[in-house]
């Protein structure tokens, strides 16, 4: 794939125009390189996550099959794709109408601005196009040396652990550089457990025995902690494996590649609603206020509403995002925020509230910079919004094995939304002990927030983990309200109840009909 500008003159002119509008609205973006592709090529690149030179793996072939089949049978169609990179790469579909190209370009500038300015993307590589090519080469050469099958199947194992990263870690420096001088000996001299000198009869006052005991206990705990490995439960399981698993060089390299790509894609998962909402907000604004021609109106409305369509039981992130941004803009324009507004009890007054502050535009730019989906929803979702847009929460009914509407209450909806967005909807799992039972076994801990893990998947993931760790692996989790330890020792799985508490009574067995 060439990376130079190969845009036909008409599209090039369109790009200049749209870019001008975007800039006037205050969007701030990387250079954008548009490429025009046939659907087949677009499917290929989309299957590769946007990177034409990515490493080989069957999973990309699977994606490709789906995309191309879905298109051939008229079920789905990708309109655009944008890559977070500097310069930003964006792909246009050759057969699109002119009005679609406009829409897509305007949408792309929204994403591009978001990539560049949203803080959650600030730690991602902006040279990912080159890096994935590099990853591709490294994996291809490993395949040449060690066999395609061996390497690919090791990738399978790494991908199985792909979600075990710490999405906050790029912002936190957890491991300080070790101190150059070790003061521990000096520290120990005045150590906490030391007695002060005193006369015998004063001793119990100068050195109260309870205090000494407490200090001794603390010291012991400190020492215990120092022996702990890892010291704190480690959420970046992939990093822990990179540092401590007995891998050979090419395996470490593969694991490192999979981990790096996981970190690169993580912010996109963390800001799906915002990112799509922001891009949609701008394509809609640019199209309707600047560049849409009367003859294009119907097609534009058709395609825009297609993107925004909601289905019962599904939440369209594009729709939720754009509506929230619009809502924020309006509320900040009219001053519908702050303690005075919040404390007002009269819904009619609230509805007509307008202080003509005109702060909306400024506010949404600020929002796009510093929020992610979790904080976005937490801060800006309002009961009025939920009502206006017909949101509901749903839950699984274990009896009928269906999902059903659970509630239309604001609190419940927000809770469910936040749960679904936390850690981009993935369970949080930490390495608690890398030397469990002093036998080098790995002990993972699942932080259970009310939803159980899918058991068969969990067990088979342990199998993959074992492949990297090579010693028995364990996962502490809750199944049906009881703490259990899932283990895999290299040949057998086991599930052992731990001395946990039961949160739920087992449901009575249904009466059988027949």
């Amino acid at each position: 794939m060439s990376t130079e500008h190969n845009l036909p003159a008409d599209l090039r002119a369109l790009q200049v125009e749209i870019e001008g509008h975007a800039r006037e609205f205050g969007l701030d973006f990387y250079d954008t390189v548009f490429e025009v592709l046939d659907y087949d090529e677009l499917s290929e690149i989309a299957a590769l996550g946007g990177f034409p030179t990515r490493y080989p793996h069957w999973r990309f072939g699977m994606e490709y099959e789906q995309l191309s089949k879905g298109y051939r049978y008229g079920l789905q169609k990708i309109y655009e794709m944008v890559i977070n990179n500097d310069p930003c790469y964006a792909y246009l579909l050759r057969c699109n109408q002119r009005v679609d190209q406009k829409l897509v370009m305007a949408h792309v500038y929204g994403h591009n601005d978001f990539f560049k300015n949203n803080v959650w993307f600030s730690q991602t590589s902006r040279k990912m196009m080159d890096e994935t090519a590099n990853h591709g080469n490294r994996i291809r050469s490993a395949m040449e040396r060690h066999g395609e099958e061996t390497v690919e199947s090791f990738i399978d194992s790494c991908l199985s652990l792909e979600n075990l990263i710490d999405i906050y870690s790029p912002f936190i420096k957890r491991r300080g550089t070790p101190d150059r001088y070790d003061f521990s000996a000096a520290g120990e001299a005045e150590g906490v457990g030391r007695k002060f000198r005193s006369k015998d009869y004063m001793d119990s006052y100068v050195n109260p025995p309870e205090y000494l005991k407490e200090m001794a206990r603390r010291e012991e705990a400190e020492a215990q902690k120092a022996r702990q490995f890892p010291e704190q439960p480690e959420r970046d399981v992939m990093l822990f494996l990179l540092e401590h698993a007995p891998l050979n060089a090419w395996q470490r390299d593969v694991l490192d590649i999979v981990r790096q790509e996981a970190y690169y894609f993580a912010p996109q998962g963390q800001t799906k609603i915002m990112n799509e909402g922001w891009a949609s907000f701008w394509h809609s604004t640019i199209m309707t206020t600047r560049t849409l021609e009367p003859s294009e109106l119907v097609d534009y409305a058709d395609h825009h509403s297609g993107t925004m369509a909601t289905q019962p039981g599904r939440l369209n992130p594009y729709k939720l995002g754009i509506e929230l941004f619009r809502d924020i803009e309006e509320r900040w324009d009219r001053g519908q925020f702050g303690p005075e507004y919040d404390e007002c009890e009269n819904s009619e007054v609230k509805r007509r509230w307008d202080k003509k502050l005109g702060l909306g535009r400024k506010k949404i730019f600020e929002v796009r910079s510093i929020y992610n989906d979790v904080t976005f929803i937490d801060t800006f979702l309002t009961p009025e919004f939920c009502r206006r847009h017909g949101l509901f929460s749903f839950k699984h009914n274990d009896l009928s094995e269906t999902y059903e509407i659970e509630s239309r209450e604001f609190k419940k909806i927000k809770e469910r939304l936040l749960f679904g967005l936390t850690n981009f909807g993935q369970p949080i799992i930490r390495v608690k002990d890398g030397n469990h039972r002093n036998r080098g076994e790995m002990y993972l801990l699942h932080e259970h927030f009310g939803a159980d893990l899918k058991l068969d998947h969990a067990q088979d993931t342990l199998r993959h983990l074992h492949r990297l760790w090579t010693r028995p692996v364990h996962l502490e989790t809750i199944i049906d309200g009881r703490a259990n330890l899932l283990s895999f020792d290299g040949s057998e799985h086991s599930v052992r109840p731990l001395g946990g508490i039961s949160h739920e009574q087992p449901e009575p067995r249904p009466v059988r009909r027949g």
Binding site: E149, L320, G425
Partner: protein, 369 residues
Amino acid sequence: MVRKIERDANRFKQIVRGKIKADLRKYITHGEMIGKTGGEFVSIPLPQIQIPEFRYGPKGGGGVGQGPGDVGTPIGRSGDDPSQGEGAAGDSPGQHILEVELTMDELAEILGEGLALPRIQPKGRANIVEEKDKYTGIRQAGPESLRHFKRTYKKALKRQIASNTYNPADPLVIPVREDKLYRSWNPISLPHTNAVVLYLMDVSGSMTDDQKEIVRIEAFWIDTWLRSQYDGVTTRYIIHDAVAREVDQHTFYHTRESGGTRISSAYNLANKIIEADHPPADWNIYVLHFSDGDNWGEDNRQCIATLRDSILPKCNLFGYGQVESPYGSGEFYRELEEAFEDVPNLALSEIRNKDGIYDSIKEFLGRGR
């Protein structure tokens, strides 16, 4: 130039076909997209492999949706996580597979390969080979009426060129006796085989749409396989609750009754149909029964008797598939297991869920009968 993605796509296909990485086989889900071409619904087989990972199960899970409905309104089934997905179709229940992109033969081949199914040895008239003559050969001698004109003249031309008697200016070719070639026939043996598949299904209240979906998918694959093994396959459908009746395919998959269950009614009807229309001497008979295993207690003995005395002696295979229902599964499976030990043409299978279909097909067809 081979496009890069083709390598990945081929690897994926190979995994699906079970040629490489057997360990991934259990993560293959046989989904389908329902699409439309030219006004007709088509089913696009869409195998997918899920790499196992720590993820939430349905229990305790939930999410947020948008749209009308009251508290308690169902919005989706377990398995199709409503919070995910791009809105691809696939949730139109009972949509029959009208057209697939692969040919049926290809599908059957994939199935056979994937499951390592033995090829069926047809019984009955299969052994009586019908012979038919087909003109496929050439001989040096024969009646003039079978002379192969073109070949004869070609050979004559060759001879004349070789002996330098051919004159392009005067292209006259005269065959002599040695040039003459005659058509000849070879006997072709055509095994005459017929197969009938009787599908029996429990449609009593305890069988939900989910169970029927499982039956539909499983029956589709069994049909596909049997059709690849026989020249002609007839399918017939019987539904039963407390009474049984023969129905067409559509009714078979769409009926829901609320009555009790009497499995023997279906077995008796199946036996009647076999006796009336499909004499075992001429037909390869497959009887496949699906139920959740809840039967009227006293009826079990009757079922076993009918099976032992009437059905099993006549059919190539009797398969019983017990589909797990939300109301639990009944005892019928155990009853059959106890009653019949080591009967070669009886196959029992318990099908937990959609993922169980694959193994169940193997249990049914893996004996090559």
